[in-house]
Structures are given as C-alpha cells and as structure tokens.
C-alpha cells in the first residue's frame, strides 16, 4: 500500500525524516504502524536543497533495493538539508505479476514539468479501465509514460488537467486539476464497471509548495471478501511548527502554530506517539505554501 512523506519548510537534515524518528519513513517499509502490509518494492525520493547547485532542480534518488540496507542513502541523508522533500517506500501485492523496477518508483516527475507526484494507495481492477484513460491524457504526456503503475497514469491525468503542464501552477490550480483528474477517474471507473474501494492519497510538490489529497473511490465497496482497506479509510496525517527534531525526549516540531515555518505530511506519523499530529479529513486536500518564511495551510473538501 506504500508509505509516503512530504516536507516543506526550513532546511532540515534528511535523516530526521528518513531514519531517526522511532517510526521514520524507512522503518515504515518493514514495520508500519497503521497498516499490515510490508513496503518492500523500493524507495524513491526528490529533495530540493537550497544550498545545492541550481536549487530549484530537485535531487532524485531511487532504488529497487530495500532502502534500510542502503549505505549510500544513509550517508547522503546525513549530508542533505532540503527545504522540501517527497519520499516514498513502495508496497505492492505479494505476487509474481507485479513489476519491481526503476520505472515504477515514485515520485513521478516528467522533464519539462514542475510537478512531482507520489501515491499511497491502489486502484483495484485498474487493468479493466487503464486504456480507457488514454483519451483523457494529452498525447505529449501520454508519450512519456514509461512504467506500469496506476500511479503514473494518475500523474499523467493530473498534468493533462493543467492549462500549461510546463508552467508552475499555483496551489489553487493544482487542487482544481487534482479534483478534475479524480473526477475523470471516477467517471471512467463507473463507465467500465470498476466499483471496489481504491485509495488515492496523492502527494504533489514543485519544491515551493505541497498539496496532499486523502481520497478513496468507492470506499467500503468490496468484492468477494472484505479486507482492511474496505473498513478503514487510508490514513494521512500532518504536523506543523518549526525545527522537527528530538526535543525534550521526543520527536516533534516546536515553536507554536503562530510561528510555524514547516509542515510534514505523511501516510502515518513518524512517531508511535501520534499526539502532536492531526489527521487530514477524508475526501479532502491539504495545501501548504511558504510566504516569507511563514507557513500557510488549509484543507479543502474535494468534489470528485
């Protein structure tokens, strides 16, 4: 089912997100707290580091190996201090038909566009309607699809809803495009007879803002059997403040909401103790931007 995190704020040691907290993203690969599947099909990350060469261009790292055994990633994360990061551990069903490959690692980011996207979820029965989506994707975007995941098609649909996929859209434009892309998917699913619970929690960023949706199609609709995803809405949490670090014996942000300059959104909290985190409401999008070092954040309900 994957685990994702997105960070926006003052520069932060990457290891404070990936390794150090007691339920850090990489620990969620093999010991997630809020769902029962392991996330063993690789790791992908994009990070925008203001101290790096051409800071608006993100650093990308992706591996199909288990990231917890990756010494290069460990060393790198101790050195990088990004102001924005989008990181993903991939979870897939346990069978031989799944493709574990570089092309299928998140976040997705096409050259010539500003947006990157990571997906936590799974479109059940995707093969039933995958090719019916093609007519809703711009030809130039369609030509860029390389992998076999439902997530990359969602990314292509999102880009196709933007007036100019090559431009840098505002958060409001991204929310509208996401809502429109989700509506197209709902319509196509309905036309093709797909009606099983399919979570579509999306994390989108261009390095200067982030938008995260908590959204499930046909929530509570099952096939021949009922499983966890039918009874529990796929989770998504956030926390805000300053300086995410180990303070007074716990991993948290400090400084109060009024002085917040950072936000962390994740499939599940990075600590077993969830008391400094809040849930993003279901069928909603969370938008966050930084203005002169001040965080602005709001949640809006999606209409798709």
């Amino acid at each position: 089912m994957c685990r994702v995190l997105a960070y926006l704020g003052s520069p932060i040691p990457l290891e404070n997100l990936l390794y150090k907290p007691d339920s850090s993203l990489l620990k969620q690969a093999y010991q997630p707290q809020m769902h029962h599947m392991l996330n063993l099909a690789g790791f992908g990350m994009m990070a925008w580091d203001p101290a790096s060469h051409v800071p608006e261009v993100p650093y990308r790292y992706a591996t199909t190996e288990l990231p917890i055994f990756d010494a290069n990633l460990r060393n790198l994360s101790a050195k990088l201090r990004p102001r924005c990061a989008l990181a993903h551990v991939r979870g897939v069903p346990y069978h031989e038909r799944v493709h574990v490959s570089q092309q299928n690692l998140h976040p997705f980011h096409y050259e010539g566009t500003s947006l990157a996207l990571a997906h936590n979820g799974d479109l059940e029965q995707f093969d039933m309607y995958k090719f019916a989506l093609a007519e809703h994707v711009r030809p130039e975007i369609r030509a860029k699809i390389r992998g076999s995941t439902d997530s990359e098609w969602i990314y292509a649909l999102l880009l196709s809803q933007l007036e100019d996929p090559g431009a840098r859209p505002s958060p409001d434009e991204i929310v509208r495009a996401l809502d429109a892309a989700l509506a197209v998917l709902r319509k196509v699913r309905h036309q093709e007879g797909a009606a099983r619970s399919s979570s579509t929690n999306l994390f989108v960023s261009d390095g200067s803002m982030l938008v995260a949706t908590r959204f499930t199609y046909d929530f509570g609709c099952y096939g021949d059997s009922v499983h966890e995803g039918h009874l529990r809405y796929s989770s998504q949490w956030f926390t805000v403040g300053r300086d995410y670090d180990f303070h007074d014996g716990e991993w948290k942000m400090i400084g109060g909401a009024a002085n917040a300059d950072s936000i962390l959104v994740a499939s599940e909290p990075l600590t077993v103790d969830t008391s400094t985190w809040l849930e993003v409401p279901e069928y909603s999008a969370l938008c966050a931007t930084l203005d002169d070092g001040k965080l602005t954040m709001r949640t809006v309900e999606l209409t798709a």
């Binding site: 009606a195 199609y217 046909d218 929530f219 509570g220 609709c221 099952y222 059997s225 009922v226 039918h230 009874l231 529990r232 809405y233 956030f238 926390t239 805000v240 403040g241 300053r242 303070h247 948290k252 942000m253 400090i254 400084g255 109060g256 909401a257 009024a258 002085n259 917040a260 103790d273 969830t274 008391s275 400094t276 985190w277 809040l278 849930e279 409401p281 279901e282 069928y283 909603s284 203005d291 001040k294 965080l295 602005t296 954040m297 709001r298 949640t299 809006v300 309900e301 209409t303």
Partner: protein
C-alpha cells in the same frame, strides 16, 4: 480517605448517580478506589489507554489536548463533583487529552473492569449508571458540534449542500454482504442475524442520497453494510464533514438516544447498502435481554464515543488553521 458510607453520601450529590438508591450506590462505592494528586501531576496523559473514570471530590484539574507545534489547547477546567474520562466506561480507545492537576485533587477512580463486573453481575446500579453515561456523552457530542460550529464562523470550508431527502433510496437484499466480516454482525449466530435483519429494512442508497437531515426529527438509525455514508454539520449554505462511516458503522444514534432533532445531516458518500431500523425497533432490540442486544448496545456506545473523539480532532485542526490564518494576517490576538 473515606469509608463506603461517606462515599455514598458524596455520590448522592452527583447528577451521574441520579436515580440510584443507597443500596445501588453501595455496590458502586465498593468498587471505586480513592486517589490523591498534587499540582503539576497528571491523572492521565493523551494517548494512554482509557481504563476508567475519575470523579473529583475536591481540587481542580485542567484538560489539555496537544496540538502540532508543541502547544496545548485547554479544553476544560474541572472541579469538585465533575467527572473526567467517563467515556472510558463505554469503549476501549485511548485518552484524547491530558488531565493536569492544578490544585491538590482528591476523588475516586472507577475502572472499566469494575464497571464490567457490575454489569456481568446484572447489578441494577450498572443499568442506571450506563443510562446516565450515555446521556452525558450525548450532551458532550452536541456541545462538541456547537464548538465546531463556532470555529467554522472563522474558517468556512468548501463543501456541498445535501440533495433532496431520500432521493435514490430503494429496497435491497442481503445478497453478497459478508456479514461474518463486519463489526457487530460478526458476533451474531445465523439465527440471531436473521432476527436482526427481519427487524430492519435493507435499502440501497446511491451516492449523494440523504439519509437524514440536520434539525429534522429522528425516525431511524442506519447500519452501513456496503459503501460509506458521511455525517455533516450545516454551516450557512455549505456543509462541514464530521465523519465518514465504513461498513459495520451505525449512524443516527445521537438523536435516537436523546430524543432531540438530528444534530447533523447524513448522506451516502458512495453507492451504499444500509440496514435501517425504526427508532422503536432499535429500542426493542436493545431492550431484549439477549446477546445481540448487548452487542448492539456496545456498538452504539462505541459509535457515539468515536464521533466525540472525531469532534475533538476537528476542533484541534480548526483551531490550528485559525492560528495559522491569524499569523498570516499579522494578528496576535488568537
């Protein structure tokens, strides 16, 4: 601190024990344990397992919920005669706030295990106490909705307005519903399941169908069998989503329990199948001294507490957004 006689005398003064006679209060008094805490000590911490209820005899306690940014929001200040953590007797969740002692506080702790012993012994005190606890929880839920409505005055979310009531409702059948995998139903024997299904009506609700409207009298409660429904609080001409209810969840219970008009509206947010009970049918089911009645009551109480917890989450988030918006405007008076 005190003997049973003295405790009973104190309990007689509390609304929680209204209607209980001295003999029933003695049953409760024998179960409670006295506690004493000094300033800055806690009775429980946010995130702790909910294991019982505290009854304050003297002193002062602040209820604080943590919010992101390492701040705490004061939810209430409680004193002599007040209860805290009473929902622990109705479900097995975790504490949603910390209880911090402000002035030296004494009182009694009543564990959920003790309450369960009274219930298993069929002590009349347990029935009266349960009734009072449910009434208290209903009041708390309505108070939480009012708090959210206040917060929404400053931060209106985007949402939808309900369609016409009952558009799209149609009779349905139970085919394809895996009752054995759904909460509540999974505890029933085939015979009990049959009785429950016969007491209600199976309905199909297309996405957008309104199950009930805020402010209208309550006629029915619904158990979701497939798909999902959401409860919403009206705010001007928009709605604010309170909770999404998965298969097995029960909705409409607040009004069914306290007899007041619906506090929220409810619509199907996916194509759904529900089991509808007239209020009277649900009361008959709950009043019948059989295992399904116990399971249903537990399910109803847990659903009520879940909504209460959800309201606390919304209030925290809306407060947070209010602070962030105020900071954006440069205000400092939040």
């Amino acid at each position: 601190m005190s003997g049973v006689h003295e405790i009973v005398g104190f309990f007689h003064t509390l609304a929680l024990f209204r209607g209980l006679d001295t003999s029933q209060l003695e049953d409760v008094a024998q179960m409670v344990q006295p506690f004493e805490r000094g300033p800055e000590e806690t009775l429980f911490q946010q995130g702790d397992a909910s294991d019982g209820m505290y009854i304050i005899r003297t002193g002062s306690v602040e209820i604080r919920a943590r919010v992101p940014g390492d701040e705490a929001m004061t939810l209430a200040r409680l004193g002599a005669g007040d209860l805290l953590g009473e929902v622990a007797l109705l479900d097995r969740g975790v504490r949603t706030a910390t209880a911090l002692v402000v002035e030296k506080t004494e009182g009694y702790w009543f564990g959920r295990r003790h309450f369960e012993i009274l219930r298993l012994d069929r002590k009349p005190a347990s029935l009266s106490l349960m009734q009072r606890l449910i009434e208290n929880t209903c009041v708390s839920v309505r108070r939480s909705y009012a708090r959210i409505a206040e917060l929404l005055q400053e931060a209106a979310p985007l949402s939808r307005v309900p369609a016409n009531a009952r558009v799209g409702f149609a009779e349905a059948d139970a085919s394809g519903v895996p009752f054995g995998s759904l909460p509540f139903f999974s505890r029933l024997s085939p015979r009990e399941l049959q009785d429950v299904l016969e007491a209600g009506r199976l309905l199909r609700a297309e996405r957008g169908t309104v199950l009930y409207l805020q402010g209208a009298p309550s006629h029915e409660v619904f158990i979701v069998l497939r798909g999902a429904v959401r409860t919403m609080l009206q705010h001007g001409d928009t709605n604010f989503q309170i909770a999404v209810h998965a298969p097995g969840s029960i909705v409409g219970v607040l009004s069914a329990l306290d007899g007041r008009p619906n506090a929220t509206s409810c619509e199907a947010c996916e194509d759904s199948k529900v089991l509808a009970f007239e209020r009277s049918a649900m009361e008959t089911l709950r009043a019948t001294p059989t295992p399904p009645s116990w399971y249903l009551s537990e399910h109803v109480h847990e659903g009520l507490v879940r909504v209460l917890r959800r309201c606390t989450d919304h209030a925290s988030r809306l407060e947070l957004e209010r602070h962030l918006q105020a900071a954006e405007r440069g205000a400092s008076d939040v």
